[in-house]
């Protein structure tokens, strides 16, 4: 592959050129209720070319590798249609790397029948509860080989195996329908999804429990978030704002996001760290061929770094971080997070609940979004806290806050960091889902708006 890509690349002239090519094999199993909606293997092969002229880019994606030379010419031609201020890329030494995958229990060595039987067993558990109406289960193992070559002499081949499982139980009592979800897996082998019957049982219990919950009452509350939501909070309420492509061309936003600005209490540290083995956001080289690294976004409460591509790094004169990622060959790399988490503090969960007095304890992830100033996240479960103790369960909550105020409203940081990955992922610029992990310890936050009746 290397010599073929190289021979095509050599014939074309551009300021900068890169070819990414990917081969993907996916085994998927999908249950909805007792019906097996889909099972089997699919294959995809395709590539993406980026060409840069002095002042513009072109991105060309394709499936048919035999036409690569035509596509390379088209990309350089399109890039040259753009005349504008010069685009610079942060410089990078050329590299040659071939990274093969190492997993225990390669899913390729497990028969489709064994995978089917495992999913069938979990699905039966999901459907086993008294008031369970239906279920949804998605299993996938994905084997990806990525080839990267650019006109600066870098060649990187990376192989990766993801194994993921998502389980949902949907309970119904009359008009009241509630669901609970569990996501497991990440970069790794079949072992990640084996022996998860207990998690399936627990998902059923949560869905049934929600039937007895009362609808949330809207208003401002002090909340305690569990580690799973703490991670969503790190991702939505801050992570996206630290992606440099939002601000590298925007002087006003750069003034607002100036390094050193105080965002939170001194004990607050938010980190993006790709090289955590097994997590969804694990990678050694990003999709521009830049080695990944750990970046502190917030250090002791102050803005201390942001996530860059080669272009945003050069434009802002900040250190390159290796965060340009694409969900697949048919998309260009853009600035993305990897494994983003809030570092552990010193409070125990029990101290936190007692300390709060009145408030809401929220758990589990149902969704989240941001517009860079406001964020929302929806927990799966909520409990009223009264007189320092967990009271009755509430449901249908969605929480919202202002990024700039809410981080400063963190009152306590727990000592119990946990990272979560799963079959979902992050969406940005039409690219979704990108595998990421998020995590944190329990957090206590003041003045969070809860939507509700």
């Amino acid at each position: 592959m290397k010599s073929f890509l190289n021979s095509c690349l050599e014939r074309v002239k551009a300021d900068y050129l890169e070819i990414r090519y990917e081969e993907v094999k996916v085994v998927g199993i999908h249950y909805v209720g007792k019906e097996l909606e889909a099972i089997g293997e699919s294959y995809g092969k395709g590539g993406g070319i980026r060409a840069k002229s002095r002042g513009g880019w072109s991105f060309v994606s394709f499936n048919d590798l035999s036409k690569l030379k035509d596509y390379l010419e088209l990309a350089t031609k399109e890039a040259h249609l753009i005349k504008g201020e010069e685009i610079k890329l942060a410089s990078l030494p050329a590299r040659n790397e071939v990274i093969s995958v190492e997993v225990e229990l390669d899913p390729a060595d497990i028969s489709l029948e064994e995978k089917y039987l495992l999913c069938n067993r979990y699905n039966k558990i999901l459907l086993s509860g008294k008031e369970i109406q239906t279920s949804a289960l998605r299993y996938a193992d994905i084997h990806t080989t990525k080839y990267f070559i650019n006109s600066e002499g870098t060649y990187i081949e990376q192989e990766r195996i993801d194994t993921v499982l998502g389980m949902r139980a949907i309970a119904r009592r009359g008009d009241n329908i509630q669901s609970a979800h569990m996501g497991i897996g990440g970069v790794g082998g079949y072992g990640l999804v084996k022996e998860k019957a207990e998690q399936a049982e627990e998902t059923v219990k949560r869905a049934q429990g929600l039937l007895d919950a009362e609808p949330a009452k809207g208003g401002k509350y002090t909340i305690i978030v569990d580690p799973e939501l703490s991670g969503v909070f790190a991702h939505e309420a801050f992570g996206h704002l630290s992606e440099a492509d939002f601000l590298y061309e925007d002087k006003r936003l750069q003034k607002i996001m100036v390094l050193g600005r105080v965002f939170g209490p001194p004990g607050l540290n938010i980190i993006d760290e790709p090289r955590i083995k097994g997590e969804g956001g694990y990678y050694l080289y990003d999709d521009e061929g830049v080695p990944s690294q750990k970046t502190y976004l917030i250090k002791e409460g102050r803005l201390s770094g942001r996530l860059h591509s080669r272009e945003t790094s050069a434009k802002m004169g900040e250190e390159i971080t290796g965060n340009a990622r694409a969900i697949s060959y048919d998309y260009p790399p853009i600035v993305r997070m990897s494994n983003t988490y809030i570092a552990a503090g010193d409070k125990s969960f029990e101290e936190m609940i007692e300390g709060v007095g009145e408030g809401i304890y929220v758990k589990g992830f149902h969704g989240g979004q941001t517009n860079l100033e406001m964020f929302t996240f929806a927990p799966e479960e909520g409990y009223l806290i009264k007189k320092g103790r967990l009271h009755h369960q509430i449901r249908d909550l969605n929480l919202s806050g202002n990024i700039f105020n809410t981080l400063a409203s963190i009152e306590a940081i727990g000592n119990d960091l946990v990272l979560f990955t799963g079959p979902g992922g992050c969406g940005k610029g039409g690219q979704s889902p990108l595998p990421v992990s998020t995590g944190g310890p329990h957090l206590e936050i003041r003045d969070v708006v809860v939507g509700g009746k």
């Binding site: 880019w57 994606s61 753009i82 607002i256």
Partner: protein
């Protein structure tokens, strides 16, 4: 080539079907007020569905030159697959539709660049401190369906999208306005999309404030799809089959206010989801969903219809990489008689909702929603006072659709949903 693959698959199965998509697209992308990238894509892929020993098997490939692994994977899949409750259709005609525009093929990249540039210049002329980004894209796709029961169909489809966003970061007051148009046909949208952004921008220059409570509310066409998510799930035959639709058993009964009519219409001229046949080769049609507030139909693909003992409504939606599943095509809410200005005039104290964040989180199936107001306005004594932010709006979309005060007189497409603005009795505001 497709015939050979089909024959190979048919050798070991009772029925087989190939679904192929080939598409070419060009896109010009603006960032930070300037032309940034010109992109193209050339995609192709093929999905093979078989019925073997009464069970469904499926696999998909992007590489058509290697059919053997595709056939084997589909066959392996059928060992475990769901029992088929249908037969693949034979050729029984197609619906005549308008889903292709010749003038789009000859549309040059230079012209797409000029129109994007023009829209951004219009915005910057009035508001030079805004940061604009935009995408102008054209796509041509060819879809082919071939099965062993004699169906062989191929059609071409185009689409053209023009979308623009304007962003302003001020300390404590971020603003993002997004507007766009999408259709099968080419049209110069530059002025109208720029004008819509500027109108919204002018309204945001003043601030409004609102205290928590219940207020009358107008959802703009852009915001109405948030409230239709639950209805779209509720009428889905698959959701019905799993017995989790709140609309179960409601056919023939009123489910929303009596002056609301809703259709699923894959025949709508030049709309994004318009096509002669659905993903299984069933001729497209217009299906009444709600007439005068009364639920008329659920939507089905072949398998779901078979399981439910009914007929497909031609709603088998798919890409090449997946089995068909019921989904709405063009979803049309019929317009009413009241202009947007009249709705606003009627409000003593209330809000207009235009953009939200956090949609689709929470219990969508049951109609529950609770979202942050990303772009919305305060109305006092019949006049728009200014932008309201830092609040959440929440409610139940079924309850709201049962408390409609007026339907707007002008509809427009937002993606594949065509709707007028809608005036509701109340929404809950927290913050």
């Amino acid at each position: 080539m497709m015939k050979e693959i089909l024959e190979m698959a048919a050798a070991s199965a009772e029925e087989a079907e190939l679904y192929r998509v080939r598409s070419e697209s060009s896109e010009v992308i603006f960032e930070a007020n300037r032309l940034k990238s010109i992109d193209s894509s050339f995609e192709e892929g093929i999905g093979l569905r078989i019925i073997k020993q009464g069970k469904i098997g499926f696999s998909s490939f992007t590489d058509l030159s290697q059919p053997r692994p595709l056939v084997k994977a589909a066959s392996d899949s059928a060992q475990f697959g769901q029992k088929a409750h249908f037969h693949l259709p034979s050729a029984d005609g197609t619906s005549s539709v308008e889903c292709y525009d010749d003038s789009l093929i000859s549309l040059s990249l230079e012209q797409m660049v000029r129109e994007g540039r023009k829209a951004i210049d219009l915005i910057l002329k009035e508001a030079p401190f805004l940061h604009c980004e935009g995408e102008v894209a054209k796509i041509e796709a060819e879809i082919s369906i071939l099965n062993t029961n004699g169906l062989s169909h191929s059609y071409k489809k185009t689409s053209y999208t023009f979308s623009l966003g304007a962003f302003l970061a001020e300390e404590g007051n971020f603003l993002g306005i997004g507007e766009g148009e999408a259709s099968v046909k080419y049209h110069d949208w530059s002025s109208s999309v720029a004008q819509r952004i500027l109108e919204a921008f002018r309204l945001t220059r003043k601030k409004g404030s609102i205290s928590p409570g219940r207020y009358p509310v107008v959802f703009t066409s852009k915001a109405v799809p948030l409230l239709l998510q639950s209805l779209k799930q509720g009428i889905n035959g698959k959701v019905l089959q799993k017995k989790i639709s709140p609309l179960l058993g409601k056919i023939g009964k009123p489910v929303v206010s009596s002056f609301i009519d809703v259709f699923d219409d894959a025949l709508f001229p030049f709309a994004l989801a318009t096509s002669p046949v659905d993903g299984e080769g069933i001729p497209s049609r217009r299906t009444p969903i709600i007439e005068e507030g009364v639920l008329k139909n659920f939507i089905y693909d072949l398998q779901t219809a078979g399981l439910m003992g009914t007929e497909s409504t031609s709603n088998g939606a798919r890409g090449y990489g997946s089995l068909p599943s019921p989904a709405t095509s063009n979803f049309i809410v019929k317009e009413g008689k009241v202009p947007l200005q009249e709705m606003v005039k009627d409000i003593k104290e209330g809000i207009i909702v235009d953009q939200v964040i956090g949609s689709g989180q929470g219990n969508v199936l049951m109609g529950e929603f609770s979202v942050n107001l990303d772009l919305g306005y305060k109305v006092e004594n019949g006049k728009i006072k200014g932008r309201v932010k830092d609040v959440m709006v929440s409610g139940n979309s079924y309850t709201m659709l049962n408390n409609v005060l007026a339907l707007g007189s002008e509809s427009r497409f937002v993606g594949t949903t065509r709707t007028p603005p809608i005036y509701f009795k109340e929404i809950n505001v927290a913050g």
